[in-house]
């Protein structure tokens, strides 16, 4: 199960360097970072549990299913946070001053 999170870490290069409201931007980035870390962790955990299940190494079926669902939820959360940040950045950069 390939981990797709690293490729999503690539954001518009200058997003962290927005001049106005940089402090706010920082906090959003932090949240995004957190959600990315969590999504990566959850995906790894799900992969491990499913592999153990299929190897007959003793993972409970319901635990593996829950791990997969959590990986999915974490991923969705991360995508939502990322999209909102990108959207906000685009709105700000489109403003005429």
């Amino acid at each position: 199960m390939t981990n797709s999170i690293p490729s999503i870490r690539i954001l518009p290069a200058d997003i962290g360097a927005a001049p106005r409201g940089a402090a706010e931007g920082g906090r959003f980035i932090e949240t995004l970072q957190q959600s990315m870390d969590q999504a990566e962790g959850a995906q790894g955990d799900a992969a491990t549990q499913v592999a153990q299940l299929l190897n007959g190494k003793g993972a409970d079926l319901h635990s593996a299913m829950i791990a997969v669902e959590k990986a999915d939820l974490s991923f969705q959360l991360m995508m939502q946070v990322r999209n909102k940040i990108v959207q906000a950045y685009q709105q700000i950069s489109n403003m005429q001053f």
């Binding site: 007959g56 409970d60 079926l61 299913m65 829950i66 669902e69």
Partner: protein, 144 residues
């Protein structure tokens, strides 16, 4: 739910109880057998059940918590060691010098009771298999 292990465990009981029923059927079929290839009357057969500690690296029972799960197996099929039932039948071809014929120690009532026990235990473990399958399906359903 540990898929393979759980079904194997209940399955072991289904197999053992079935074997027990087969032995009962054999006893019932031979209740009148006074002559066998080994000489003498048919000897009543009995199964000996034994709890099977899960071998640590057994793939078949993989995933079960070792200190808890015990599958069951038929350790042996043994002959009833009680002496045969002697009946006075001087005209019988297998009668001994005193006119007694040796009959198997098979009591139909005892055998039927045993069979009922085997059937009940079989049904119980079939329910356990059904319950396991339900829980497996529900676990899979978590992702819907």
């Amino acid at each position: 739910m540990n898929l393979f292990g759980m079904l194997e465990l209940s399955g072991s009981a289904l197999g053992a109880e079935r074997q027990r029923a087969e032995v009962v059927a054999s006893n019932m079929a031979n209740v009148q057998t006074t002559r066998t290839a080994a000489g003498g009357p048919y000897r009543r057969q009995m199964v000996v059940f034994q709890a099977q500690r899960v071998p640590r690296f057994s793939l078949a029972l993989a995933g079960l918590h070792p200190e808890t799960a015990s599958a069951v197996r038929v350790a042996a099929v043994v002959s009833d060691q009680r002496p045969p039932v002697m009946r006075f039948e001087p005209g019988h071809p297998d009668a001994n010098a005193e006119g007694y014929v040796a009959y198997p120690q098979v009591d139909p009532v005892e055998e039927m009771t045993d069979l009922l026990g085997a059937v009940r235990a079989y049904e119980l473990n079939a329910s356990a298999v059904q319950a396991t399958k339900n829980m497996i399906n529900q676990s899979l359903d978590l992702l819907r």
